[in-house]
Each structure stands twice: as structure tokens, then as C-alpha cells.
Amino acid sequence: MTRDERRRGGYTRRDFLRGTALGSLGWGLAAQVGCTQDRPPAAAAQPPPTPQPAPAAADKPKVVIARRPDAISEDGQTVQSPAVAEMLTAALRELTGKDSLAAALGTWVRPLDCVGIKKTLMMTPTHQELVDALWAGLQQIGVPAANLMTWDRNRGHRGYADGKMEEIEYAANHVCKVCSEWAHVLINLPGLKSHWLSGIGVCLKNWVGAVNGVNVMDQDVAFPFHGDSCADLGMIAAHPAFQGKMKLHIVDGLRGLFEGGPQVNPQYLWNYGGLIVGTDQVAVDRVCLDIIQKRRNEFKGEEWPLNPPPKHIMVAAEKYALGEANLERIQVVEV
């Protein structure tokens, strides 16, 4: 049986060791699974992946990391709202080249647009301080309260701080009506976290809370993504109901989770004190993978591979054309 024939059944760890798995995307996952430079001759004889010219910086998707160590208290219990607002403003200014939060948000949001903000409530929820900072910017643009919905799964918050809760309905296509019928603009606010089943659960994973009728057996469902370590998670963001609406992805990295998840073991929470922001959610997820992997290695003092490898990031790029998964082709800017 040839290697190509075997690949029909998926990759193995050895493919990552060789750099032949996902190699064309420059993943560097070989390092994640413990590959060393000390390769035996047979493997060294393998032809290397064909090098591709690096794009100019202007052509690369930009991912902005804003960090403020004082944004969250040492015990992780208190968040400084001004620091979060400052980070959000700095990140969006860098991302857009505009001179204020409102002007930056105006890149994607017009005053009368209906705006859906997808937060996460599960286990490591999006910090309200980040939602507040985003609301402030949208309010400056003039988005009416009636045109603002912040939600996860079946419940949503209509408007700003004094808004009311509403039940979220789902369309016949199993996408929530916020996304499929109502919103002109969707803003994604996931957490920075590892995930037991998919490796990490950040931007692409957060949209699971925008659809219904999913189950882990993938039986009789509209979005059968659970198999193969959730490799096909990108099928949600690629659904036509979302097309042209997913404008901005802001990862809440104030306190990240680097092992397990979604159930929290506090040994694996850490104060990253940052936001990771971009318009290309695949690129943002790829940068977040790098952040989480570095923290894991730091924690153990050696390579601590993220298991399973979060293949859904590569698959989202390659199969669903949702963005850039090659770290070398992503412009990462820290502010």
C-alpha cells in the first residue's frame, strides 16, 4: 500500500514527524509532536516540501496581539475595564490604520447595520469587560440598541448594558436566525482555549454555538464535524448563511486555558492578559495555536504536544478556503 493510499484513512503521527502532513501549509506541527533534528538517513532522504515564495507583508493577513499585564489580577478574578478598552482600541487601530475605536469599527460596521456579537458562555466565558468595550465602540458609531444582539447558543442580549434577554431562534438550515436572517455584520468573541476533542477551540469552534442539531455521533445532522478530531469544523463558517458577514474576530486572551477544555482544571489557566484580533479567523486561530503551544512547553519545560493536533485550522484553509493557516504567511503585529 502506498503512502497516498494510506492517507485516505488520514494522517498518522509519523506524517507529522516527517513534515509531510500538512507540510505545504508550513504548519510546523512536527515540532509539536516532538520531532528533533536528529533524523535517521532514510527519513532525511525524503524530498522536502516544495518551497513557496513568501508573500509581501501587505498581502499577508494581519493578526494583532495587544497585551497589558495589568488587565487581569494575578488570581484571574478581577479584570480592569480601562485596560481592556485600551487593548481593543490599540489592536483595532493597528489592524485598520484608523485613529480611533469607532473609526476602526466603522471599517466594517455602518450606523444602521444589524450587528451580531457571538460570545461564549461555556466554562471559560468571554469576559463582559471585553463585550462592554466593544459595545462602547459600536455606540460611538451610532448603532441603535435594537440593532445589536450579543448571544451564545439559545439566548441573546438585545442592545447595550440595559438591554433584555431574548430567545434565539434557528432557521430551517439549522443556523441561528441572528446569522442567517438578521445580522449584516458578525463579530466573533471566542476565548483562548485548548479543547479535549479538537485541540483548540477558538474562532472556528465558537461558531458551533450559532447552529443547532449537532451531536457527537454526527448522525442525521446538518453539520457533521465531530469526526477526526473535529477536522471539518470549518464547514460551519463556510455555510452560505454566514457568507460576507463574519467581519471581525477578537479573541479574549485575558485568561487562557492550555490543556483540556472545555471543562476547566485551574492548573491550566494562565493570565495571558491579551487580545488577539484579525479579520482572517483561520490566521487568528493559527496564531492562537502558537500561543497555547508555547505556554504548554513553558509549563512542562519541554515539548508538550497539543493532542489531538488541531487539524481543523488547516482543513478550514485548504478545504473551505476560509483563510491562511501558514504562520509564515501571516503578519503578526504586537502592540
Binding site: R13, F16, D38, P40, V79, R155
Partner: protein, 338 residues
């Protein structure tokens, strides 16, 4: 018992939100709570009495009602994470709250499994940390203790994960263990791991998804893991050398043989033979496999021994080169789960 009250629903939601240091708006708490009624149980659950007794023994006061989840509703408690539990013979979860006189709040989650071995298995997948003498096994860190006791796994934690509450968390855990009472046996497979150089308790599991979280071997289920296989993974350090040993217990020798051949062919990329196979991989480490048929009276089963990430050939060879001795597979109850 009666269905959950609004106050309980609010408490649970606020507790979940506070785990990561978030403040929840009343609207959010109310919102998340509205999906909870299906989590309630119409009748008294056996765990309720254990809960109440434990909280009283620990000198705490119960806060809110208890909530119950089944295999079917566990997703409502941890969307996206239930799969980890459903990979074992998980049966039921009871959750509740407790409060200290000074107002510090604690949460208790009590997971019941059909088999004690599976309760151990679930516990073993996240056993890092300090190991206080609470229950049959326990792991503590940052205000959370996770314990195995008989067919139960318990998680007891301070809502804000403050280590300063360690004594209370452990006292509540000990009281819960006392209320549970019954002890359980370790998975028989664990007795087959060589003791020399073993760094910690083996992690016990059944499914391919669990293996891929512990050690990513490949996308395909190369080893034919499933509900009827018992598997365990342990790390070894012998001198300066390290290795991992994976043992899989199959119900038939045929199943073990098929898995061994598949692993040798697909992963080691060697021609399967009747002998143990050992090969050096691209990272310079050794991997190999050998299958051993069970002696009578359990002559229909077999154990597959796989060594991974071995930094030394001799260590690898030793780990798979001897038939692992020990008791046969545990009896099964309850059909095809997980």
C-alpha cells in the same frame, strides 16, 4: 425532588461564569438558566443524600438545590466536553453548591459510572498535581480536587479557584468520600504494567478519541479501539531513558492480531511477522509492538503491547519483550457502552 428553583439556576450559572473570573449580568444568569429545567430529575437521586451528608460533615451549608444530568443531558452541563465522559460507562452527574460561614462558595460535581474501573479511568485522564490522601485517588491544585472513589469521580472546587481554600476543599472532598463509602477495584489491566521505572498511575481508557488526546497516534483507529477494548498508557523513566507503554486488552486473540498487524503495517511501516517488531522513527525514538495471547482460562483474549517514544532500544525491547502478567479482563455489565 422538586424541579430546580430559579435561585438554584441562577447560582449554577453564576458559578459557571465565575470559574474564569467573569462577571455575569443577571440577564445572562437568567438566560443560561432557562435551558436547565431538562437537567432536573423527577425523583430523589441516590447521590442527593450523599451530597447533603458530605456538606454537613464538612461544616458547610448547602446553597441552592441539586441538579442532575444523564448521558443524554450531560451536554447541557458542558457543551463540547461531554464526550470525554461518554467514552466511559458514565451514568449520571449530580452538581450542587456549598457555602462557608464567611461566604466563600464551593461547587461539587459527582459523576457516577457503571464500572469502578471506568471511574478510575476518567479520573486518570487529568491526574496532575498534588496527591492528597483523599479517596482512592486524588489530585489537587488551585482550589480543585478531583477524586476517584468506587464507581464515582468527584470534583470539588472553590468557585474562584483560590488555593487559600485548600483545607475546606479537601475536607469537603473527604466528607464526600465518606458518604460514598464503597470502594472499587482498579482496572485489572493496570496490574500488567511493569513497575520498574513507571512514573505514575497508567491512564485507563477505551476509545480512539481518548488515545488521541493522550497521545496522538493517527486519525484512523489503527488499533481497533472501542467499547470492548480496555487500554492504558503509562510513562517510564529508566535511568536517563524514557518511554511510553500502551497496553490494549482485546476480547479475542483475532482482534489483537488484526490490530497488531495494522499497527505494524500502517504506523511502523514494516511487514507484520509473528515476532515483536521494533523500529526507529524519524524523531530518533523507538516504537514497537508485540501481542501476547491470554493463558488459560481466559485463552480467548489477548494483550497488545506497544512501546512509543522510547529513547533507548533496550528499554523499548524490554517493555514489550515480556508477556505482561496479571489478571484477565474485568467482567462486563450493561451491554455495549460506552
Amino acid at each position: 425532588m422538586a424541579g430546580p428553583t430559579d435561585a438554584m439556576v441562577l447560582l449554577l450559572t453564576v458559578a459557571a461564569l465565575s470559574m474564569a473570573g467573569c462577571r455575569a449580568t443577571p440577564e445572562e444568569a437568567s438566560a443560561a438558566g432557562q435551558s436547565a429545567p431538562s437537567a432536573s430529575a423527577p425523583t430523589e437521586d441516590p447521590a442527593d443524600a450523599q451530597f447533603r451528608q458530605a456538606i454537613k460533615t464538612a461544616g458547610l451549608e448547602a446553597s441552592g438545590d441539586l441538579a442532575h444530568y444523564s448521558r443524554q443531558t450531560l451536554y447541557e452541563f458542558m457543551d463540547g466536553g461531554a464526550e470525554r465522559y461518554l467514552g466511559y460507562t458514565f451514568e449520571a452527574l449530580t452538581t450542587g453548591g456549598a457555602r462557608r460561614p464567611d461566604g466563600e462558595a464551593f461547587r461539587v460535581e459527582l459523576y457516577r459510572f457503571e464500572r469502578s474501573a471506568d471511574a478510575y479511568g476518567l479520573w486518570s485522564t487529568d491526574a496532575n498535581g498534588e496527591h492528597p490522601p483523599v479517596g482512592q485517588r486524588a489530585a489537587y491544585g488551585y482550589g480543585l480536587v478531583q477524586m476517584w472513589q468506587g464507581p464515582y469521580v468527584a470534583r470539588v472546587y472553590h468557585e474562584k479557584y483560590r488555593d487559600s481554600t485548600r483545607e475546606t476543599v479537601l475536607a469537603l472532598g473527604a466528607a464526600l468520600v465518606q458518604a460514598i463509602g464503597e470502594e472499587g477495584e482498579l482496572p485489572p489491566l493496570l496490574a500488567r504494567f511493569p513497575a520498574e521505572g513507571r512514573e505514575s498511575d497508567p491512564v485507563f481508557f477505551h476509545l480512539h478519541t481518548a488515545l488521541n488526546h493522550l497521545y496522538y497516534l493517527g486519525d484512523a483507529n489503527l488499533l481497533g479501539l472501542g467499547a470492548e477494548t480496555d487500554a492504558a498508557l503509562a510513562s517510564y523513566r529508566r535511568g536517563e531513558h524514557r518511554a511510553k507503554l500502551l497496553l490494549v486488552q482485546y476480547p479475542t486473540a483475532e482482534a489483537a492480531g488484526t490490530a497488531r498487524q495494522g499497527f505494524v503495517r500502517e504506523y511502523l511501516e514494516r511487514t507484520p511477522t509473528e515476532h515483536a517488531v521494533l523500529t526507529r522513527l524519524e524523531d530518533g525514538k523507538w516504537a514497537g509492538a508485540a501481542a501476547w495471547n491470554e493463558p488459560a482460562p481466559a485463552a480467548d483474549g489477548a494483550v497488545l503491547c506497544i512501546v512509543l517514544d522510547a529513547t533507548d532500544r533496550l528499554v523499548a525491547s524490554d517493555l514489550i519483550g515480556r508477556q505482561p502478567s496479571g489478571p484477565a479482563r474485568a467482567g462486563r455489565r450493561g451491554g455495549s457502552r460506552p
